[in-house]
Symmetry: C2
Subunit: 389 residues, 2 copies
Amino acid sequence: MENFVFDIKTRAYFGKDQIDNLGEILNQYGKRVLFVYGGGSIKNNGLYDRIIVLAKENNIQLVEFGGVEPNPTLKTARKGVELAKSEKVDCVLAVGGGSAMDCGKAIGIGAKYEGDVWDFFSYKLSPKESLPLVGIATIAASGTEMSHYSVITNEETNQKHGVGADCLRFNEVILDPVYTYSVNAYHTAAGVVDAMSHIMEGYFTHNDEYLQNRMSEAVLKTLIEYGPRVIETPNDYESRAQILWASSIAINRILNFGLKGLTHECHLMGHALSAKYDITHGVSLALISPKWYELCMKKGQTKRLAEFGKNVFGLSGDDNYVAAQAIQELSKFFFDRLKMPRNLRELNCGADKKDFKELAQSVSESFQSVNWYVPITAEDIDEIYNAVF
Amino acid sequence: MENFVFDIKTRAYFGKDQIDNLGEILNQYGKRVLFVYGGGSIKNNGLYDRIIVLAKENNIQLVEFGGVEPNPTLKTARKGVELAKSEKVDCVLAVGGGSAMDCGKAIGIGAKYEGDVWDFFSYKLSPKESLPLVGIATIAASGTEMSHYSVITNEETNQKHGVGADCLRFNEVILDPVYTYSVNAYHTAAGVVDAMSHIMEGYFTHNDEYLQNRMSEAVLKTLIEYGPRVIETPNDYESRAQILWASSIAINRILNFGLKGLTHECHLMGHALSAKYDITHGVSLALISPKWYELCMKKGQTKRLAEFGKNVFGLSGDDNYVAAQAIQELSKFFFDRLKMPRNLRELNCGADKKDFKELAQSVSESFQSVNWYVPITAEDIDEIYNAVF
């Protein structure tokens, strides 16, 4: 096991009506709060109104910054930073899915920095401090509510870059499964895929840590068990709760402490597609993952796939057979049970085979430092993109 | 899923040579440190000397409080509190196994309280604050290094009582598997049983939370896989690391968030035996647990035992068969593989059948508030004590 420091500073209020704690939470940090949110969903499910009331009751001034787009752009993050600075806010309250929350995090670090916030996302320097961050999650997906990551898209260069740092953990978050009821089947499914992908990218590595692998399988099984249930019964509290907590655990490092060299192949390949064609993040992952694991098998990485098949899908047989079956089961789960689109054409996203070569080249170049699970070339990535077209 | 607040404030430095951070850690809290430890083990494995050197290098004054006994007594805790107060220490550094660490925690809360520290352990009031607590664990067992519990024995009344509170979490702990190499086979095995018992007491409840159950099984499997390995190869870093991290996860609430009404039947019955006859905590749990699960089965609680048999021991068959087999497998694991003593007579601990009735009565009385997994009477407890004699 590798050395590590367990340090999850986030206090997470999980469950029904935890929103009632919002006043007390915000009051710890000050009276001027930048209220970051996305589209209108929180206005439809009552959350927006509840926040306004609670802020009033607690004499908290909200500076609103709504309209954060999916795959939040650098332009939006910069605008938010500017507003946070000019309004001299004491903390950030980010409410919504991964996009609003990631944008809130970017604003938090940007507001404490003289330069351009992209400096952090272009890996010029590591973020060291942030405004206090408070979050309210409204979808089980990215797990950003408990992760130390933020992902921003530079719309000028088509780069979707993630950065990780301790100061990117929320100080406090509210996770109420009820606020996820209104997420539609498509985005619910994409969220399940995203959470699974976070786990699989720790699991399919050169690490061989028993505890971490068994715990990862446990959370994967949970997502496979409850993913279809939330789609069938969107207002089932227990299922929504299982998925929401699983997606937080998936990326809060509990499953990864002690591991070396996590890899993010599917996320990197997916991010490039999402940035280029504005595809929902989890959908890009569903497309790419099975193809990626096929490539891993072709390149001789069979053992972990066989473990995955046996321990997650309950398959049995020799390793080669189980590994191949496991990829089949994963595909069936994504496409038959979660009903994810099967290829880029179905998405009508403007994807064009002519783009892939350049896209593949840029993915392989910009992430040369990544310790890939199997050696991977621009040609491999191009092949995967073509296979999911 | 029940509402909960995820809030694990402990920062855990896990791995080789993490002791190097001790100076920096202590310097955050002040220069006068109460250094709590147990018998001589830390003097034999070099840890004591290393702490003395690091304290000198960092101009930290250590007020030594050594000799904390196994199953630490109220008398010792009171002495430590007195010393902490008279020496006006800034924080507590507790080094050793569960006993030294639990005593350190008791001193931490006692030093911030005007009254008698037993007030907390007799449930007269809840602890609200503590001196800063720093710990260094030298055995994988109680998991107290990451738990919010402390257990103290009132040697006058033979009561071994545990209390849980947020302020009983260490601020920082160092977990270096190398410092657990010198733990002998007997105590290593007892530690594995203790950690398993913490998990099983969350698992064998009326909760039916999929994620929590699957994760619990994952950690149980780890302890079953690596418990015998550390006994066979005491200096195997990887095995020691797996056990140490598993025993922390077992009780830091990760497996229990969202559950309602954990029960501690085996711990309560075991504590009474340990307090009366000074039996190593994990040994008492190994004796009692299989008998307890037999009783659960007799009283109709078969389903979870069958899950346990299938998912942890890989058994198959109908529920009744698997449940019964699971108890057999658990016994075999404790007594054949971990080589725990099979009964009280083997222990030469002075146990006397004549004591059991009174002991059983007192256990059943003092814990009436516990939401037992199955209804349990003083007669049941008496029967269990007689069965393990």
